[in-house]
Symmetry: C2
Subunit: 330 residues, 2 copies
DNA sequence: CTGAAAGCGCTAACAC
DNA sequence: GTGTTAGCGCTTTCAG
């Protein structure tokens, strides 16, 4: 591996000391540096095509110019958008972005938490698989590694998430306004706060009107899970609408409905949650709630870099299926 | 930031020298180490909960335990799957994964290439936006940073990609077998090798039978682009099928067809390419070609880690729309 | 305003 | 078999 120029070589070429070069690099000249000196340094940097080696800087500072995003599955478009938000802010701040895909495994997640300590990252945007390993979290915190949980809640950690409860309530009100009365709900896993918040919002809206759900089932956040659950629900009774805990599940519901010969939205209203990009291509068009995935990432990253980590609830909005064509609501 | 234990403290606790600890850590004892010594070291490591600091190791070795994946858009599920493949292999090898999202900007891509040099990464899986900056590439190569291009071709660099040409030919033959004869083709950008290979495969299949395409249009790899192009094609003539350069575009074609009152697959056959996960949810189900995105990532990462980088063409297979329900082909 | 020097934590010759 | 030692390239006191 051919050696790149070092700060000493830049210094030598510019006829200054390494410290001076370092000061130019970091803009840390308390007293103003003589412009001529700075120019000579910049010129030398340019000539040698010099870039400071990150490892040396990290070692010296005991902190890497790195942000990490630890999440259950990067191939989930929702998380990918979030990661993209983190990356954009990190890049602008001169930081690299580590992607840590826990593959929905708490064990792998824990191993990644240790790795992130060894990497001395500036901060971690963390979407846990389930309740994460306390020890690993505590060690990170103890060592001063900043962390913010995104999209779900973890006891004792600042969280940046969408206002799922309000969003779900608004969505339910939307269905009620459209005349749906016998609404079934397919929730996500009971140990994920996001799932519970969405369910709670649904129940909130009904309670205000002294209504009760036709049924509430818990499933996974998957297409298959919702498909099977919807089939079961539709076999047993006849709701006039089914709300699913996310878009993927809603599409599963639509398929179940189609296979049972039900016309959406005439025979059955279907609603999702998330407003994932590909949902725009599903016909009939899904009524859903937009969750600002990317913005979660940018806000989280910004906080980590600024050192102003605190919980934050981002607003969401209901996205009705487009009215000029077939949609999933009447 | 509270200090973590260092290799010296481990050595002190175990009553050995730092080098011995290092040898245990790296498994580099040419002569066998006395088991008792190794055990004392392991015990000390466990007691102190010691993890080697990556920056120090990277500085000393002049090489980070890091793999990078540089791609145009991580929120594109295809690239996300690829990234996931890279991450899985990297993780198993004890490496971290840097995610570099060039956001479809050659400029940002170039900046990332410089950054990766400064990071002294072990290797780069590179999906270029377009023809990438030569200087940046050359500098990386000159410094011995391993690189493999994925999914598209760059002159002079080893590429791991799917056999798009053969896949497209097989897909075309599939349409021909189904009886489609007046096939229009909506290609991707003319400066992307993947797009050209798919177009070439299409033309190959026709040529064998002395057929000519109804029309060939170039568009972007986007839904909107294909939607608009399909509208134009269908307004001008009446192909019995439209092949699109990828699934996203195929869905755009389907929408255009639907809005013109055409029934897929009876009035118009539609075919895509990629077999992206969400395509399974589109109705009628898309006929497409499966491209092994994840495997591209794993193979690329494996090569980079092993130092056996060479071009590789992965096989693909035609995925007919499911036959038991509505599909995009007769 | 700039330079000298120490040291971040780890590894790899080279000793013994 | 294991220890000693000299840095990797950078930042940051402290001098002047």
């Amino acid at each position: 591996m051919v050696r790149q120029p070092t700060i000493r070589q830049v210094a030598a070429l510019a006829g200054v000391s390494p410290s001076t070069v370092s000061r130019v690099l970091n803009g840390t000249d308390g007293q103003h540096m003589r412009p001529a000196t700075r120019d000579r340094v910049l010129e030398a940097i340019r000539k040698l095509n010099y870039t400071p080696q990150r490892a040396a800087r990290s070692l010296r500072r005991q902190l890497a110019q790195v942000l990490a995003v630890l999440l259950p599955d990067i191939s989930n478009p929702f998380f990918a958008l979030l990661a993209r938000g983190v990356e954009a802010v990190a890049f602008d701040a001169g930081c690299s972005t580590l992607i840590c895909d826990s593959s929905n495994s708490v064990h792998k997640e824990t191993r990644y938490l240790s790795l992130l300590l060894a990497e001395r990252v500036q901060g971690v945007v963390f979407v846990p698989v389930a309740q994460p390993d306390r020890d690993a979290i505590d060690r990170l915190a103890h060592c001063g590694v900043r962390m913010v949980v995104a999209d779900r809640e973890v006891r004792g950690l600042p969280t940046i998430s969408a206002d799922n409860r309000t969003g779900s309530r608004m969505l339910t009100e939307h269905l009620l306004e459209l005349g749906y009365r016998k609404i079934a709900y397919i929730a996500g896993p009971a140990d994920v706060s996001t799932a519970n918040d969405r369910l709670a919002g649904f129940l909130d809206a009904l309670k205000v009107r002294d209504m009760t759900p036709v049924c509430v089932c818990h499933g996974q956040f998957t297409y298959e899970s919702a498909y099977a659950t919807a089939k079961a629900i539709l076999a047993r009774g006849s709701p006039d609408a089914i709300m699913a805990a996310n878009d993927l599940m809603a599409v599963g519901v639509m398929r179940a409905a189609a296979e049972l010969g039900l016309i959406v939205p005439d025979d059955l209203g279907v609603a999702g949650f998330d407003h994932v990009p590909w949902a725009a291509f599903v016909r009939p068009q899904l009524t859903t709630v937009e969750v600002p995935a990317r913005r979660m990432g940018t806000e989280a990253a910004r906080m980590l870099l600024e050192g102003t980590v605190e919980s934050l609830l981002l607003p969401v909005r209901v996205i009705p299926g487009e009215t000029c064509s077939r949609r999933s609501m009447r």
